[in-house]
């Protein structure tokens, strides 16, 4: 590759870095002040692109000046939307557990994901290009799009303004102080509420600006939000949460890596991103410029009562349910049985997530990864190795736990929101690889025709029933075991865990791998149940479904995810009959759970029962 081409690639990388920086610095600033990781940040980026498209079209921006005005106006509008979200929703969220904050912001992104196509339609939208911004310039014999230079300049201007604002103004002093200790700033008489609103609005404004700027390079499309938030998470994980410098350095690193990676190793691009992240986290778990987290923070569910032995009524209910499901094939037809199978698979998936979320106290946003790996292990095993039903079903949990070993090793080095972001980013990387590796995985078209001809639906039903019962028994047992106790100590008091000789990371990794093993089993079963596998098996949507199932039921015992998964599945099936705006419904549902029903169904019932006992 010539020097000119290399330079052109490097500048393209810098232009990507500009977008990445604008998106991640907003995310990072908001986190620094409010301690909330805004999952909807990518969605706001996307809104920026759509609003920018609308404005440039409406005003028929044909010269550079009006184009830039439209871009800034779009950012202001998105910032205003962000402010409204902060005032209506986020304000109620600052004191709730991290998981709920993440879910609530994710719910906002779900709403945006479903509302945008209603307004703008499903097609990609290409903004009118302004002639003076369109051309290229020659650079050592290679052509460099001039717009990329503008992008870099725009990011540089924002960086400079941010730097001045943070180091030179009173507002900047407050920002720095609140990042250190927000309660102290509140105690000194600063109106915290408005500080939070201001910073949130600024962060969303920057996301909107990045989205609108992006219009000069690509079309506005409905996938850009998810990919933006994934990359932003990678950037803040590498750079360190809450650090502007970190966001800058990591954005340049990732931007350049992607641009040069595409040029030199197009196949390995995503793997490279993963390796960089792994290398940084192995050496500096809190990122290049991040501060280490305090180890002493108490877990958020600390009002949970001590674990009790499984009560007799519950055991009877479980046995009765099992008996009912054993005789179900006599009553239910093929369709009925397939519904029950789907529910059971959902139960195993939710049950495995419960182990990480409940006793483990770790919030993962990438649990679908292991479900998907299990499903694809079955599909690929049948397609390429001609595996039998039984051996494919053994391969699924095996493959999932191998992935969990590698990803878990990385993820347990961090905790809290870092854990959530990292598990999410890792799952997205696997998703992208599966999505793009068309020759092997079939990409978007998935792998179909997996049902072995020799397998009867009835046999499959009983295999699923037996595996589900066994899985739930084991997953319900583990919290009562020595490992489960150690796990709860790492959740509630990491400092104490270390002081009594418990290796916090190893215990978490162990639980993570066990949970992923069962997620992989669920994935393997689902590959057979559907007879096909698609990339959605790994998508963030499935991870969120799992979280909602567990939360609907409750995180305090295994009964929670069992009830929650069944409720969720049946509700989803029912609602999908009437509308395909499922994400809209789910978004509202999540916000309701978080605001009104934080203990879940089983949790609320058992709390009520306990309340009556003590009277």
């Amino acid at each position: 590759m010539s020097l000119g081409l290399f330079l052109a690639q490097a500048l393209t990388g810098l232009a990507s870095a500009a977008t990445l920086f604008l998106v991640s610095v907003g995310l990072s600033l908001v986190f620094g002040i409010t301690r909330v990781v805004n999952f909807a940040h990518g969605a706001f980026f996307m809104v920026g692109a759509y609003v920018g498209y609308t404005l440039t079209n409406y005003f028929a921006a044909s010269d550079a000046l009006s184009y830039w005005l439209c871009v800034v106006a779009a950012a202001v509008i998105v910032g205003a939307i962000g402010m409204a979200v902060e005032l209506l929703l986020m304000r109620r969220m600052y004191k709730v557990p991290e998981l709920f904050q993440l879910l609530a912001t994710f719910a906002v992104s779900l709403l945006i994901d479903d509302i945008l196509p209603i307004i703008f339609g499903p097609e990609d939208l290409l903004a009118p290009r302004v002639r003076s911004l369109r051309g290229g310039i020659d650079l050592f014999g290679a052509r460099m799009p001039v717009y990329d230079l503008y992008m870099i300049a725009a990011a540089a201007i924002v960086l400079l303004l941010l730097y001045i604002a943070i180091t030179r103004t009173r507002w900047g002093v407050l920002i720095r102080a609140a990042t250190q200790d927000r309660d102290m700033v509140g105690a000194l008489g600063v109106n915290q509420a408005w500080l939070f609103t201001g910073v949130f609005t600024l962060g969303v404004f920057l996301a909107g600006l990045a989205g609108a700027l992006q219009l000069g390079r690509t079309s506005a499309n409905l996938g850009m939000g998810t990919s933006a938030i994934t990359e932003a998470f990678v950037v803040v994980v590498i750079g360190g949460m809450g650090s502007v410098t970190g966001a800058l350095v990591a954005a340049i690193l990732i931007g350049e890596l992607s641009a040069l990676g595409v040029a030199y190793f197009p196949q390995l691009n995503l793997v490279l991103m993963f390796l960089i992240m792994a290398a940084v986290l192995a050496v500096r778990p809190s990122g290049l410029f991040g501060k280490p987290e305090a180890l002493t923070r108490q877990h958020e569910f600390s009002d949970e009562p001590p674990l009790r032995a499984i009560s007799r009524p519950l055991a009877f209910a479980a046995i009765a349910l099992l008996a009912l499901l054993t005789i179900a094939p006599a009553v239910l037809g093929t369709y009925g049985l397939s519904v029950v199978v789907d529910v059971m698979i959902a139960i195993v998936f939710a049950g495995s997530l419960y182990l990480i979320l409940g006793p483990g106290g770790l919030v993962t946003f990438g649990h679908a990864c292991y479900f998907g790996v299990g499903a694809y292990a079955v599909a690929l095993g049948i397609r390429y190795a001609g595996l039998s039903f039984a051996s494919a079903l053994v391969l699924a949990p095996l493959a999932a736990s191998l992935f969990a070993l590698a990803f878990g090793w990385l993820s347990v080095r961090v905790s809290g929101v870092y854990f959530a972001m990292l598990t999410f980013a890792l799952a997205q990387i696997v998703w992208s690889v599966v999505f793009q590796w068309y020759d092997v995985t079939g990409g978007d078209n998935g792998l179909i025709g997996l049902w072995p001809t020799s397998l009867s639906p009835l046999v499959f039903y009983f295999v699923t029933l037996a595996l589900t019962a066994g899985s739930i028994a084991i997953l319900g047992w583990i919290p009562h075991s020595a490992l489960g106790y150690a796990l709860r100590v790492t959740r509630d008091s990491p400092a104490r865990a270390a002081a009594i000789g418990i290796d916090v990371r190893l215990v978490r990794l162990f639980a993570f791998v066990i949970a992923s093993l069962f997620a992989g089993l669920a994935g393997g079963l689902s590959a057979f149940a559907k007879g096909s596998v698609f990339p959605t098996a790994i998508s963030i949507g499935r991870s969120i479904d799992g979280l909602v199932m567990v939360l609907m039921g409750g995180v305090e015992s295994i009964a929670g995810p069992v009830v929650g998964a069944a409720m969720f599945y049946l509700m989803q099936t029912e609602i999908l009959r009437y509308t395909d705006r499922w994400r809209l419904v789910l978004g509202v549902l999540i916000i309701l759970i978080v605001l009104v029903f934080p203990k879940g169904v089983v949790g609320s019932i058992s709390q009520r029962l306990r309340g009556e006992e003590s009277r």
Binding site: L295, T296, Q298, H299, F301, S302, D303, E304, P305, P306, L307, A309, W477, I478, H480, S481, A482, L483, G484, Y485, A486, R488, V489, D492, S493, A495, R496, A498, A499, I500, G501, I502, D503, V504, L506, V507, F510, I514
Partner: protein, 264 residues
């Protein structure tokens, strides 16, 4: 229980240095703890006492200096490794598990000590139950052993911390303000128990304490710290007579004047 070499102290701390950014929280502190002896660290708030503890127990690795247990360096080791070498500790701000019962809090320490943590098939409820109950009896918490730890009074949590710290049959016990927040009668009782355990079991105890009466009546030796530095070391009589110690404690410096009032 472990036979001790009469010449080598159980714990030797040499020129310990811990830095928090620009601040030297602990600056060149050296001290010894012999088996069976109670050594107290005293000093105003911010003197670096807790940081000393954290550096010894591995919660905050020292920047320089050395920590020797039985003559072998343990500086920079992980807390869980230091635990396995026979060091138990209590925290200034109690670190217990609120969602477990009192007994379970001790049981889980015993499970870890006996290396049964990675046994997903063993029921924790029955593991080392009697051993836990014996420890709870020792600290007088038998009546509360089935209560959730989250609802305990602060003084009880402090006592529970002692039971947890004893779970690994420690040779060295690090107690960071073990009686803070307790009623005076409770304090004396707890520290008398610690003194008895130290004598009976040959445990070396390093502790900080704001109640000066307890310190001077129980400690075999007292280490005085001020602003990260070692000010004086000696027997209670020597320390009592030291004019520099009197200066700190009687408040010639106005900013330390009220630091040693007993918490109410």
């Amino acid at each position: 229980m472990t036979p001790q070499h009469p010449t080598a102290p159980l714990l030797q701390v040499r020129d310990l240095l811990v830095r928090y950014g620009e601040t030297l929280a602990v600056n060149g502190v050296s001290l010894d703890v012999e088996a069976g002896k109670l050594i107290a660290i005293i000093g105003p708030n911010g003197a670096g006492k807790s940081t000393c503890f954290n550096a010894i127990s591995g919660q905050r690795p020292p920047n320089a200096g050395e920590v020797l247990l039985d003559g072998k360096s343990i500086s920079g080791l992980l807390p869980e490794t230091i635990f396995s070498l026979g060091v138990g500790r209590t925290f200034q701000v109690t670190a217990t598990v609120p969602t477990m019962t009192v007994r379970e809090n001790v049981q889980v320490a015993l499970i870890s000590y006996h290396r049964r943590t990675f046994s997903p098939w063993v029921s924790a409820r029955r593991l080392y139950r009697e051993e836990a109950d014996r420890l709870l009896e020792l600290i007088g918490m038998t009546g509360q052993r089935d209560r959730a730890c989250g609802v305990l009074a602060y003084g009880d949590l402090k006592r529970l911390e002692l039971a947890i710290a004893l779970a690994n049959a420690p040779r060295l016990l690090l107690m960071d303000e073990p009686t803070a927040g307790m009623a005076p009668a409770e304090r004396n009782e707890l520290m008398a128990l610690v003194a008895r355990l130290a004598a009976d079991r040959g445990i070396g105890v390093l502790f900080t304490e704001h109640d000066i009466d307890i310190v001077f009546s129980l400690a075999h030796r007292i280490v005085v710290m001020n602003r990260g530095q070692l000010l004086a070391t000696g027997t209670p009589d020597v320390i009592r007579a030291d004019p520099r110690v009197q200066e700190i404690y009687l408040g010639r410096d106005d900013h330390t004047g009220s630091a040693e009032k007993q918490p109410s």
